[in-house]
Amino acid sequence: MAALLRRIRRELFPTRGDAVLSVALLGLITLAGFGFLHWALFQARWLVIQANATLFAVGRYPIEQQWRLWLLLWLLVAATGLSWGVLRSHPRRDRTGALWPRNDRLAAVLLGVVGLWVPWALGLDLSLQSRWWGLVILLLLVRWLAGRFGRRFGSLGPRLVALTWPVLYLLGMVLISGGLGLVSVSPSEWGGLLLTLLEASFAILLCFPLGVLLALGRRSELPLLRWGSVLYIEFIRGAPLITLLFLGQNILGFLLPGGLAPERVWRAAWVLTFFAAAYLAEAVRAGLAAVPGGQFEAARSLGLSYPQTLAKVVLPQAMRVALPAMVGQFISLLQDTTLLSLIGLMELLGTARTVMANPAFLGKNAEVYLTLAVLFWCCCAALGLGSRALERRLDPQTVPSST
């Protein structure tokens, strides 16, 4: 208690001037907090979110086909639980091998609370609510099982996990768009969070190899490759994304023969990909620059070929350095998907616009925008947290840091 008081004193009231400032700030914060709470609890009409929850989640995806998305969600949750558990069952030196470390217990409780509260707050009917509870239970159950028995499979476990995700991604594509015996659902009917995540994940996955190639091209000794990469990167980075998106929508039709121009949802996804690749290339280039030239020479003198040197020696080190910047790019890519609403796609913000044009919910802007902001904040913050965790994991602790 005394320690707490001392701490408060040190942090808030170190000098007289600071004390005045602190009191003023505290007053302002309290005032703003109460104002917001009053609005959120008594004035806001959250019905607009409750009534349109499905629209925000998947857009106009046909109701009779939505079981496919549920199936995908179950699979995703199971895969998440599996990865989580397997990663924990292979403890590192700096960690106790506890099955449920403190952070995990916290995360589990948080998940439980969110899983119970959100469906209830949205006023979903009981069958839907129970599905959400089921998802949370599945996640924790798979997590427990994988953590408990994951070590028995030895190094096979992590490899299996690494394989699960790409397979699941392709399977998800089939489930969402149809094919292989499933009724096809046209991309123009995808919307909401589904479309946002789809566009972002597609662009993130594809811009990665493209960005690495561009970065290598920019550092290449071959003048044509180098200048080509420089030209591309600087051109893309000089233009606002919105002009490129409109280029994709309005001019691509002129550049390609008929029928070759992809559906506009995919067209936008490709534009996002090519856009993000240029930025990613710069992040990777910084990472490459941080790898000492000796590494390359040493690898070559050991008889590794150029591709082997890149893949086994240079790129892994460069990626570790470039990781924070790359994740930063992925986060801004996720945010940039909102621009798709300006070209008429029904991603989260586009869906929000149609919802607010509905006469029944006219003028409910604040509720809708605030919900979207919270949603985006959670997604982006989660990406940031994940990146920091990955950074720590990849940090070679055998070498003491030099600074």
Partner: protein
Amino acid sequence: MIRHPFTGLQQCGVVRKLGMALRRSLLWPLTALLAAQLAGCASDSGSGVQSQKMATINGRGKLVCGVDGKLPGFSFVGPDGAYTGLDVDVCKAMAAALFGDPGKVEYRDLNSSERFAALASGEVDLLSRNTTMTLSRDAPGGNGLSFGPTTFYDGQGVMTPVTSGIRTLKDLAGKPICVESGTTTELNLADRMRELDVAYTPLKFQTGDQTYAAYLGGRCIAVTSDRSQLAAKRTSFPSPDQHVLLPDVMSKEPLTPATVNGDPAWADAVRWTVYGLMQAEELGITKANVAEKLAEAKANPNQADLRRFLGVEGDFGRQLGLPSDFVVKSVAAVGNYGEIFDRNVGPGSKLKLDRGVNRQWTDGGLIYSPPFR
């Protein structure tokens, strides 16, 4: 004649073959990705018509129709996800004429600034989105569209809150006016206000949603658009009786479905399907009695006009590249022009618009179908 460049079928064939080769190879999961992206690609199982566009549509098995999507009465998505409205019914009639099924339409919501690009790049087959026919939009040196028959004769109006005290256009001097960018209304507003020598502030928004949101938010004292659109939007306001339309009509706005220039066969098919709806009203053929009339025509060889119109004799359908009974199919699907009007914007709707100049020519209106012969 210029052949339209956006519908080359050969390239599509190549891509399909590529897709099949991929499917045979071990990369089949990739085909799901590829297939999803080539949804617009057509097969070339045409119906012996010279139109590339129609071959594309037939191969795809459905019509892609560009609509507004947020305009009650013309095109609007209900809570059940179904599209309704006058513009939508034109799409449905067209799908019924092509496939005998009004449900074979895929709708694309387009805002006013992207609609022409969507049509030009082949993204939509038919633009049925309260689009005004003008010279520059029609001319090959301008937007290069091909317009069908006008489905709604409209004029530009101004809406303002009752409490604003504005009674004529001149009262708008120095006031902000909300307008959707990329529309004829934006230009007409500038022209008319210049004629009247009235300075004003145009507040432009990309979409109708934003335009009306800003108007309702009180940012502008008036909003201008087609009178029918204003009336339609007003029905969705919290208190519709608090807003009035000024009596001034600024311009002629013939709202007309459009196709891309350079495929006359497809344009003709659209043109005569729409005329069929108008002719059906003139002949008293309705959704309810079309089957009866067809039986009557079949039984009675003397009713040559009716027999030709309903495709019992002659080859009008084949000449257009459509089934011979395309009129029967479209009227059976959506009713005649009068029924469409009444149901969507007339007495049968919330809008309760008067037929006005949109009456049949026999009643002194402008709806006039050339003869089917």
